[in-house]
Symmetry: C2
Subunit: 341 residues, 2 copies
DNA sequence: GAGGATTTGAGGTACGTAAATCAGAATTTT
DNA sequence: AAAATTCTGATTTACGTACCTCAAATCCTC
């Protein structure tokens, strides 16, 4: 049925050992012989049985996940998914090491990357911070042959093999469309609430949001962005303040964490007069707010999908195999009260 | 590291052969011995290396996909995904047989199921039709030990192991919320366009749509549902007729196929006066219409995800393994112009 | 406790590939 | 042409599990 190395050897008129040398790029084969083998491989359509190969090699894939020690719901959820996938992956000889780094600390992230490189693992997934130190560490990493994948936050124009996360520009644009259309003819300004504009993702979301708003809803007033630092207390204070300053406040786009504070501020609005609100990341907090009607839509990235995608891609790279592209695209999930999972 | 059958044998104080008999449920082991082995398995946390086992068995998983010979874009897309996954699955010793049946033909589906049963495959995925003949055939199937999975359309309260598809009730509810909110204060009735109310999925979508509309937008007039039979020509005629009958037509919810005709009818509306429209399934047609602004939102089920999910579940059942539940939930994707993939 | 039946042990082969050794052949260098 | 070097073949072992055979041990029944 499916051709094996034995078939290749017979077809090419060489021995098993030679086939092995060619297939695994080992030295000691002259060019003409190598070509004979390669021709046989092509003719028979041989594909290595990865399972059997791994068995023979007793291969264990070792991947590292570098995750910021952030305590917001999203990161906690991501850790949970990682833990769940870990057990599942063990059945495929995949061992996943979790490495914590301080949040927003480019230096720590860079040295974590260097540490992984020293350990000779098969691949790394990490939440990127766009900083020269990180970029340099990443280049060193990929140059030593490690596959690297960014998760949640990307590092564009770098040597990472893949990005398992959403298009934040598109997310911002989507939020603007939804918010603009939900508002309809209702007057009043919109308040954008960021976590921190230091964070690339948040900047992109804001940019997408602004561009669609200017384009499609030019008459709508966009208040200056406030930064809540992903901190519920600060977010609550900022939103309450904005509500006091702008009694006609019609919409809120919250694209950082700390939504617990946002909800508290929203609950203070008189029934039926609260601003149309769109937030990011489906957590227990935003889910409850969605059901209660405090929030109108939640844009979400599926952390579980991101983790599994990162691992699939790392494994494919380690095997030199391809990936199902569509399967690895992380969608911008839009959740309304009606389509909650 | 990971315990092997040898470790189990040593731990239980029995021979390899006995361990093998226990693990594979072969006869010839007394209860006390069996228990010793099982205890050792539990203590050491032994999990069979499926890859090695399959290698030894030269096992090939054979699954059948029974797909209605429907020529709408969605089904064509599903076939495409199946074809793509087929090559990919071959690497995992999974062989997928595609079986065509006439669309909407319960009898044909039932006998296809019976045929699969006769062939002793490992599992079946099929697009269900709720009909006694189908239900009976399914029961026969699962009773002979085959795993069965429904795709796209479910068969509730049956012995299918899994349903790889969306919650159509929730989809209808989601559409109603979006449509209602997009319309805002704009007056005018809404036209629901079904494929056929004979189809369970369409009935469910309509039901969800109606319930939310009555609940949250009670003043909105819902026109009687029209059935386009998933046929572009008929859909176009029906929508054009409705537009003529109701010049104030404000919204359309199209939850069947044949959207090519819907788009044609929409293009006839004066610029800026066309009804807010929500359709199902992201195809080249609906994608173009979304970009052109003829359609306002598309609800989608990811056919590729459904196919892969069905296969993963079938394989897990065949191995007696578990599944990552969250990974197998098919989402209701909401696409706006801004978050198109 | 003899007879038969059942249970268990020991060992082997197989799956498809990796990786190693060693001998012999071919090629290149001197 | 001899020596050194490089290439190739033949063979073996291993990975973890399945499955087979044959013999030995244990059980049960009368």
């Amino acid at each position: 049925m499916k051709p094996t190395v034995h078939d290749i050897a017979a077809r090419a008129g060489v021995s098993l050992a030679t086939v092995d040398r060619v297939l695994n790029g080992r030295p000691g084969v002259r060019a003409p012989t190598r070509e004979k083998v390669e021709a046989a491989v092509a003719e028979l359509g041989f594909v290595r049985d990865v399972a059997a190969a791994n068995l023979a090699k007793s291969r264990v894939y070792t991947f590292a996940f570098i995750i910021p020690a952030n305590d917001n719901s999203f990161m906690i959820g991501l850790r949970g998914e990682l833990e769940a996938v870990r057990r599942w992956a063990a059945q495929d000889r995949i061992s996943i090491q979790l490495i914590d780094v301080p949040a927003f600390d480019a230096e720590a992230l860079a040295s974590a990357l260097d540490a992984v490189r020293a350990e000779q693992m098969d691949g790394v997934a990490f939440v990127a911070i766009d900083h020269p130190l990180v970029r340099e560490a990443l280049e060193r990493l990929t140059e030593s042959g490690l596959a690297a994948v960014t998760v949640v936050s990307d590092l564009m124009n770098s040597s990472r093999a893949h990005y398992a996360g959403i298009d934040n520009l598109a997310a911002g644009r989507t939020a603007a469309t939804l918010l603009g259309r939900f508002l309809g003819r209702r007057d009043g300004p919109i308040l954008p609430v960021a976590g921190s504009l230091q964070v690339q993702d948040h900047r992109e979301r804001l940019e997408g949001f602004q561009s669609v708003l200017q384009d499609q809803f030019p008459e709508r007033v966009l208040l200056p962005v406030v930064e809540g630092g992903d901190d519920p207390v600060r977010v609550e204070a900022l939103v309450s303040q904005a509500a006091a300053d702008h009694p006609e406040l019609a919409g809120i786009y919250s694209f950082g964490a700390g939504n617990r504070g946002l909800i508290r501020a929203l609950a203070a609005f008189p029934q039926g007069r609260h601003p149309v609100t769109i937030a990011h990341e489906l957590t227990s907090v935003t889910r409850a707010a969605l059901l209660a009607g405090h929030i109108d839509a939640v844009l979400n990235q599926d952390a579980g999908h991101e983790v599994r995608s990162a691992i699939r891609v790392l494994k494919a790279k380690a095997d030199g195999a391809g990936v199902v592209v569509a399967q690895e695209r992380i969608r911008i999930d839009i959740f309304l009260k009606e389509n909650l999972p």
